[in-house]
C-alpha cells in the first residue's frame, strides 16, 4: 500500500509538472513517432462492402505496438521517483519490449517476467528484450501465461519495492495503475479524434478495439466516451469457443471477482479459483479484464463481444492481403469484428479500428498453425 500511495503522489505531481509533460510530449514526437497515422483502408472497405474503415496505426509506433505509450511514461515516472530498476510482466512480449526500450532510454535496470508458454510462442520478442539489455525471467507456474507473469512481477515488486518500479502494462492491477495506464494511452484517442475530424469533418460512428487487459481499447475509447453518438465495441479472445479453459472472453464467460488487487470480471470456477485461458494471441490470453471496462460494460456504454481463434486468423490474412499490413494477432480480433460489422452498416458510416500492433512477432506462430515450415 505505501508503494501505491507513493506512486499515486508521484504521478499526480508529474501531471502538474510542465517540464515532465514537455519531456513526455517531446519523446512522443521524436522517439515514438507520434502522432501515428489514421489510415483510410480503402481496399478493405471495398472488400467488406459497407462502412468506411479507418485504421489507427499504433503498429507504426516505435517498437511496433501501442505499449510504448505507457511504458515510456512509466519509465520517466520511475526516474522521477528515483527508482533504479523497473520490472514488468509481458504476454505477447510487446509490453516487455516496450518496457525494456523505456528502460534503455532512461538508463534503468530492467527485468521482465514472462510465462514459459508465451516465451515459446513469442521467442522473437524474448530475443528483442535481451538485445535491449533486459533480463527475461521465465515463469513456469500456473498456466505459464500472462496472469502468472503478473503474479511473479507483483511478488518481485513486494520484495524490492524500495528500489524498483513495477511498470504495469495494462489498465489493471491496484489503483492507481488502471488510471495511469489509461492516461498514457489516451493519446491514441485524442489523436484519432483530431485526425478523423480533419479527414471526414465529423466523429466516427463506431470504434473497435481488442481487449486483453484493455489498454489499447481504453486508449482509443477514452477521448470519445462523452460523445454518446459514437458506438464502441471491445473484442475479447473467443479462443476455441466459450467453454471453461478454452477462451479468454471474460464478459461472455466470467463473473465478478478480485484478482491481483483489482475487482472486475474474471474467469473463475465455482469456488473462486482462477480458470485457465486460451487464445491464439498471447496478449489477450488473460483471465481478467481492466476494471474500467467492467464499468463501461455495466453502464452499457461499450459493447463487448469476442472473436474466435479462426476468425482472428482469417482477419490476419485478410488485412495482409488487402492492405499490405500484417496486423498483430491481438489486433486481428478487432479486425475480425469489423469484418462482421462493416457490411451491416451503410457506406456513409465510419468505423475506426485500433490497429494496436504489428504482426511481425506472430509470423512464425501463424506459419506453425498453418503447418508451414520456415
Amino acid at each position: 500500500m505505501p508503494a501505491l500511495d507513493e506512486l499515486e503522489k508521484a504521478y499526480e505531481s508529474s501531471r502538474k509538472d510542465r517540464q515532465f509533460q514537455n519531456e513526455l510530449a517531446h519523446l512522443r514526437k521524436t522517439y515514438i513517432g507520434r502522432p501515428t497515422p489514421l489510415y483510410f483502408a480503402e481496399r478493405l472497405t471495398k472488400t467488406l462492402g459497407g462502412a468506411k474503415v479507418y485504421l489507427k496505426r499504433e503498429d507504426l509506433a516505435h517498437t511496433g505496438a501501442h505499449k510504448i505509450n505507457n511504458a515510456l511514461g512509466q519509465a520517466l515516472l520511475a526516474k522521477r521517483m528515483e527508482k533504479k530498476r523497473v520490472i514488468a510482466e509481458t504476454g505477447a512480449g510487446q509490453h516487455g519490449v516496450a518496457t525494456a526500450t523505456g528502460a534503455a532510454l532512461c538508463g534503468l535496470e530492467c527485468d521482465i517476467y514472462m510465462g514459459s508458454e508465451d516465451m515459446a510462442r513469442q521467442s522473437l520478442n524474448v530475443f528483442r528484450m535481451r538485445l535491449l539489455g533486459a533480463r527475461v525471467i521465465e515463469v513456469a507456474t500456473g498456466s505459464r501465461t500472462l496472469k502468472d507473469a503478473i503474479n511473479e512481477g507483483l511478488r518481485d515488486w513486494t520484495t524490492n519495492v524500495r528500489t524498483t518500479h513495477y511498470v504495469m502494462g495494462t489498465v489493471f492491477g491496484p489503483h492507481p495503475f488502471p488510471a495511469i495506464v489509461r492516461d498514457y494511452q489516451s493519446v491514441i484517442g485524442r489523436e484519432a479524434k483530431k485526425q478523423i475530424l480533419e479527414a471526414e469533418g465529423r466523429l466516427p460512428d463506431h470504434l473497435i478495439a481488442c481487449v486483453g487487459g484493455g489498454s489499447n481499447a481504453m486508449g482509443l475509447f477514452n477521448a470519445f466516451l462523452s460523445h454518446d453518438e459514437v458506438k464502441m465495441t471491445g473484442v475479447e479472445a473467443g479462443g476455441q469457443g466459450i467453454s471453461p479453459g478454452e477462451h479468454a472472453a471474460r464478459f461472455a464467460g466470467g463473473s465478478i471477482g478480485v484478482l491481483q488487487g483489482t475487482k472486475s470480471y474474471l474467469l473463475q470456477d465455482e469456488s473462486g479459483n482462477i480458470l485457465g485461458t486460451h487464445s491464439v494471441s498471447a496478449g489477450l490470453d488473460y483471465a481478467a479484464v481492466g476494471p474500467e471496462h467492467a464499468f463501461l460494460k455495466d453502464a452499457g456504454r461499450v459493447e463487448y463481444t469476442y472473436a474466435k481463434d479462426d476468425e482472428a486468423l482469417s482477419a490476419f490474412e485478410l488485412l495482409s492481403r488487402t492492405e499490405g499490413i500484417i496486423p498483430a494477432l491481438e489486433s486481428s480480433h478487432a479486425i475480425a469484428e469489423a469484418v462482421k460489422l462493416a457490411p451491416r452498416l451503410s457506406k456513409d458510416k465510419i468505423i475506426i479500428i485500433n490497429l494496436s500492433g504489428r504482426g511481425d512477432k506472430d509470423v512464425q506462430q501463424v506459419a506453425k498453425i498453418k503447418g508451414i515450415e520456415l
Binding site: M1, P2, V161, R162, E270, S271, I274
Partner: protein, 258 residues
C-alpha cells in the same frame, strides 16, 4: 473475548511468546492435515494457521504455491476447509486462523462465510490481498459473527498505515518481517525492532511476526521483540517428513520462542 485474544492474554501473563505454525490444508490430503494439527498442538503450538489453497497466491513463495497446487488437485475448497475445522473441533480447542485470498471469500459470499466459518469454530482470518480500506463489509460481518480479522503491516508501513491497520485488526497484528513473499530469506534490519515497539505501544494489541523465519535461531531472535512467531514455508517443506523428525524440528522452534 475471542479464543485468540484469550490465548494471547494467557501467554503474555506468563511472559511467554506465541508459537504460530502454518500448514496448507489438504496438502497432500485432508487426512494428513488432521494429523498435522494434532502434531502441531502436541509440539506446543499456541495458534494454528491453516492455509486455504488459491490458484493465484500473490503473497506466497514457491513452497506454499506448490502446496496450494497439491491441495487444489485434491479438490480442496474454502467450504471443505470450514468443514475440516468443524470436525477438528471435536478433538481440539486450539485457536485456528485461516489464511487465504479474498476472491475465495467473495465468491463464497462474505456474510455467509463469516457466519459459517465462525460457527464451524474458525477463530480468525488472514487475507493478504485485502487491506482494511477494502474490508468494510467483511469487517462488519466478522464482528457480528465473532471472527477476528488479522491485517498485515510491513517494514515499509507508514505511521498513517500503522494507525489504520492496527485499528482494524483484531486478535493480533501480523507483522511481515521482510518486504517480500512467504519463505524468502530473512534479513532483518535493525529498524524492525523499534518499528514493532511503536506498533505495540500505539495499538495495545499483540504483534506476531512472520515471513521468512525457518531456523530456531531466527525464531529466537524475532521472539525477543514480538509477541509471537509465525513459521510457514519451513514447516510446509517438512510436513511430509517422518513424524518424529518433524516433531524434533517443531520442538526446537517451540523452545526457541520465549
Amino acid at each position: 473475548m475471542s479464543r485468540i485474544g484469550a490465548r494471547f492474554r494467557q501467554i503474555l501473563e506468563r511472559k511467554g511468546k506465541a508459537f504460530i505454525p502454518y500448514v496448507m490444508a489438504g496438502d497432500p490430503s485432508i487426512g494428513r492435515t488432521r494429523e498435522l494439527v494434532r502434531i502441531l498442538e502436541e509440539c506446543g503450538a499456541d495458534i494454528i494457521e491453516l492455509g486455504v489453497p488459491f490458484s493465484d497466491p500473490l503473497a506466497d513463495g514457491p513452497t506454499i504455491q506448490k502446496a496450494a497446487q497439491r491441495s487444489l488437485a485434491e479438490g480442496v475448497t474454502l467450504g471443505g476447509v470450514i468443514e475440516l475445522v468443524s470436525e477438528l473441533r471435536t478433538q481440539t480447542q486450539i485457536p485456528i486462523v485461516l489464511m487465504t485470498y479474498y476472491n475465495l471469500i467473495l465468491r463464497y459470499g462474505e456474510e455467509r462465510f463469516a457466519r459459517d466459518a465462525a460457527s464451524a469454530g474458525v477463530d480468525g482470518m488472514i487475507i493478504p490481498d485485502l487491506p482494511p480500506d477494502e474490508a468494510t463489509n467483511l469487517l462488519r460481518y466478522s464482528r457480528k459473527a465473532g471472527l477476528d480479522l488479522i491485517f498485515l503491516l510491513a517494514p515499509t508501513s507508514t505511521d498513517e498505515r500503522i494507525k489504520k491497520v492496527s485499528g482494524a485488526s483484531s486478535g493480533f497484528i501480523y507483522y511481515v518481517s521482510i518486504t517480500g513473499i512467504t519463505g524468502a530469506k530473512l534479513s532483518m534490519d535493525s529498524s524492525i525492532e523499534s518499528h514493532i515497539a511503536k506498533i505495540k505501544a500505539g495499538s495495545g494489541k499483540p504483534v506476531a511476526v512472520g515471513f521468512g523465519i525457518s531456523t530456531p535461531e531466527e525464531a529466537a531472535a524475532v521472539s525477543r521483540f514480538s509477541d509471537g512467531v509465525i513459521v510457514g514455508s519451513a514447516i510446509v517443506k517438512r510436513s511430509g517428513d517422518m513424524d518424529e523428525e518433524l516433531k524434533r524440528y517443531l520442538l526446537s522452534l517451540r523452545s526457541a520462542i520465549r
